[in-house]
Symmetry: C2
């Protein structure tokens, strides 16, 4: 038929992938490295060229990344993201930072360019979600306590992946990145994530549940794919990666009541494209070249396995898990995988790194993937060796640290207060992020659609005034919410912070001052924030003062209505997040 060549290539790849999966499954070997090896075997660099044009296959395998990130998002829903916990997040950040540094140093040691070394660091820093979850599932360890830690770290790493991808793109395009630019990038990213999540949570789960109502799998699947790819498109348009968009879309859709059905429908797609993705990686590899870079690849693999397992284990121990659980978590994280390929491909396609990075990354990942299952199975051996090697004094130190941590746990009453405290801070942060988003959107409109305003007969000042007023107006319910939460926070802090035994008879007075002070300070901070944010679109002073006055009047008059608007939005959000969990899916 028409242009059969492409179907023929793809058919061949699918045939090989199918054979590989059966054989490797039969031999109880991990399947993912099998796909890569199969790709190398049938690739254009091996005698007996079987796949002539790996380009189109590469194109399609890119879809694999989008679908992979979408299903990742689906499995690690917003609720699960919130459960990760600060301590775990901290360990992950430290671990990824350490691996970045280690990779960079290793690259310098090899005598590579700065940028290549940085990319090596990124390649080494991210564990493979697919390999780790497979290892857990295949060894029947999903229900063990350490599995929860592994999944938590993987989720946190996925979030960091997105930060890394965005930063590396910037580095690759601009050459280097100043700290300021980096922070602004991270800021933009955070805004996009928070705003996208909140708007998404308000709209998408309802939409998906509505579509699921038709009770036709085809409609549900095609529209969910539309959402997934639409979000990718939006992210791409705003300068982020398609992977980020897909991941966010997945995390948001995961909150729909029909999420398990969606996962069920999307999984076959993911599996097919993941197989294509891994075979496509193999297609790009020249085995001769691979053998040239065997030595650095082995070094990188060793650094990954030792570095990751040690840092993760130590980190887990430090945040209070017992030694064996920590070791298991570390060993389970000790590999790199799909993200390393994504980063290496990114570097190559932007001409940011030397050509040899790609084969080294693939070879190192292959080694890690092959070794990974055996690493986890040898936990007991490693623990035994550790016990024999470590001096007694050190082990004593370890156990006393655990005991000390145990004592530190907050008592019940404080724990409740602390939880309230955290929740208030969280609400304030989210509302501030939304206000910032509104003003950034205003600035964007001002910068990119100025012509249209001119068409409408509005000059620069008038345009600024209109946009600024709109941003301020839409922020009103949010600003009021922030003020109210700050009030509550002040009262809570006064209660928590000023104990009678310290302040004596002044307690009440000091508490009252503190309770008033905090909302006032917040108000001031908000004013500064709004004027800084609005600096690009600030109207002439007179107009601004007038607008602020109007806003204040509006705020006072409409206080109740605005509180109600905000409460309704918040309730909708909470309803989505805190509905009775109907899932029980432990897919893949």
């Amino acid at each position: 038929m028409h242009d059969i060549g492409f179907v023929r290539d793809l058919a061949f790849v699918m045939l090989v992938a199918g054979t590989t999966t059966v054989i490797f499954q039969r031999l109880r070997l991990p399947v993912l490295p099998g796909y890569i090896l199969a790709g190398v075997l049938i690739g254009p660099h091996t005698p007996g060229v079987l796949v002539a044009d790996p380009r189109t296959i590469g194109d399609i395998s890119n879809l694999g990344v989008v679908l992979l990130m979408f299903t990742l998002g689906l499995e690690f829903s917003v609720r699960k993201l919130r459960q990760v916990g600060g301590a775990l997040l901290l360990v992950t950040v430290v671990e990824v930072g350490f691996m970045l540094w280690l990779g960079y140093e290793l690259g310098q040691l090899f005598g590579w360019s700065n940028r290549s070394a940085l990319f090596l660091g990124a390649i080494m820093s991210l564990s493979s979600t697919m390999v780790a979850t497979r290892t857990l599932t295949e060894n029947g360890l999903r229900q063990w306590p350490f599995a929860r830690l592994v999944v938590g770290m993987l989720v946190a790493e996925d979030m960091l992946t997105i930060v890394l991808l965005t930063l590396l793109t910037a580095v690759a395009i601009r050459g280097t990145v100043q700290t300021g630019t980096a922070f602004s990038l991270i800021g933009h990213l955070g805004l996009f994530v928070v705003a996208g999540m909140i708007v998404g949570l308000l709209l998408l789960p309802r939409l998906v549940d509505y579509i699921a109502h038709f009770d036709r799998d085809e409609t549900l699947l095609v529209s969910v794919l539309g959402i997934c790819f639409g979000a990718s498109l939006l992210a791409d348009r705003l300068g982020f990666s398609v992977a980020l968009g897909a991941f966010l879309a997945g995390a948001v859709v995961a909150e729909a009541r029909s999420a398990p059905r969606v996962i069920h429908l999307v999984e076959p797609l993911r599996d097919m494209f993941a197989a294509l993705f891994f075979v496509a990686i193999g297609l790009k590899i020249d085995p001769v070249q691979l053998s040239h870079y065997a030595l650095p690849a082995i070094f990188v693999a060793l650094a990954v396995m030792i570095g990751k397992s040690v840092v993760c284990s130590v980190g887990m121990f430090f945040i209070g898990h017992d030694a064996r659980t920590s070791l298991r978590t570390g060993l389970c994280m000790a590999q790199i995988g799909e993200f390393s390929f994504v980063i290496a491909t990114l570097g190559l396609s932007l001409n940011a790194v030397d050509d040899f990075i790609y084969p080294i990354a693939v070879a190192a990942a292959l080694i890690c993937m092959l070794v990974s299952p055996y690493l986890l199975r040898s936990t007991d051996v490693i623990a035994g060796v550790g016990q024999r090697v470590l001096p007694t004094s050190f082990r004593l130190l370890m156990s006393s640290y655990s005991g000390w941590l145990e004592n530190l746990r907050p008592v019940d009453e404080n724990a409740t207060l602390a939880a309230m405290f955290r929740r208030l801070l969280w609400h304030i942060a989210v509302n501030i992020a939304l206000v910032v988003t509104l003003f950034v959107i205003g600035a964007y409109v001002n910068a990119h659609h100025a012509d249209r305003f001119t068409q409408w007969g509005l000059d620069r000042d008038l345009r600024h005034s209109v946009i600024w007023a709109c941003a301020l107006f839409f922020s009103l319910p949010l600003l009021i919410a922030i003020y109210r939460k700050a009030e509550a926070l002040g009262m809570l802090l006064a209660e928590l912070g000023i104990r009678e035994r310290f302040a004596g008879s002044y307690t009440q007075a000091i508490r009252q001052v503190l309770a008033r002070l905090i909302p006032l300070a917040t108000l001031l901070a908000l004013a500064v924030l709004v004027s800084v944010l609005g600096s690009a679109i600030l109207p002439p002073r007179g107009v601004a003062v007038f607008l602020v006055a109007v806003t204040v009047v509006l705020a006072v008059v409409l206080w109740r209505a605005l509180v109600k608007v905000h409460a309704r939005l918040q309730a909708a959000l909470r309803e989505t997040l805190e509905k009775p969990s109907s899932d029980g899916h432990e897919s893949n």
Copy 2:
């Protein structure tokens, strides 16, 4: 990321498809024409080009055809194919033939070239499986008696589709086709189908069930896709269409015990690629061009709707269904769809037809698809009109025809004998087909791998002798089976055909002669068949006689062993086909 353009285009198409499916579902309109319209809207011919390069999308949508045919095969398993029945097959052949002729005449009327007219006939001859089954499902009519007829006709048409695709490819490439070539093509096709089915049935269901044992969806899916695409590749290599390979693979895999699981896994893929397929059709359409050809398109659509519904209804009535059931079946078949696009694309890509065929085919199919659901709903109206319009004498004729048919039904005893008779004929036909296949393979090896034999030091005569001997040797169990079935057939025929009341006292003698005659005649026919088939590879006469003698001796000596070999093969086949049906899937 790398080569984002493609992902961006695809993302856009998926987004549009998702939106379309929700909106059309909501408005209770058929979704498939919605996809096409959406494709037209975002295509490169509309102002505001949104999808820049529809080529890659077209490439991917070709995968849609493969997956579509595979799932069709999965749903219409070998067992269901056998249930279609001769009468239904006859009606389908007559209907498709009539529509081919009608389309050809219409093309001539428009003043088109012969080849374009022939393609128009093919475009008009095949109903859309997707539209028809959707219409049934959406109107809740799947359990009605006429639905079984519709599905039967669709299955029969799918088989004819493959014949048509192969023939049209030949026509398009060689310009015209002599009757001889056409028959040889159909012969080859039949051989491929029968041989592929039998070898496939012996191997694939067992393999799939073995893989399903691992209990991992990913492994099952990827390996089944490997089988599907592998079969497409094989069909393509042998000169047939990839669609045929995928269809056969599906029909064979459908006999696996785990077929329902496979269907479940493959369906999301089919849905995604089907959406892409239909949007891609729209992408190729220029709306301006469409309006140019509005008139012929309307003619074609009318011809399809009237022609198909009338021929199918009349045919159904003739084979003994009541008037209303026949009418419903006809109205449900009265549309064209996906195969028309496949055929139009085939014609275009082989430069066999004029450019305007494609827009006309798409427009006509669009009209049919949009009208189709309403057509079925208006059965009662049409039946009422018919009753008023038709003269009483005609209606009397119809009812007396039904009564006469009723009387013709075989009585019970004869029905059993007739079933035995059919089964024997069927067995003989299959075994003959296998023998023919063996000799064709021999001829193929002789023609294409002669060099290798020369390398081994075998000259032409010796090569012929070896190949011929091998083919004969492998045919032995089949030949013996044919002989034994022929014997049984002879006895049955003698019993059935020679009744005592006609032949009187000679009955026994005549019966014995007949019972001997038939196997002898078969033996003779086999000898002729083998020598004709082997003509390309016939060894020198002396060698041939010697080989035949050896074969006869072998046959006599090994008779029991060979019967056992054949029985074991047949048992394996029967076990696959007649296992307790564990499915209950009424998917899509």
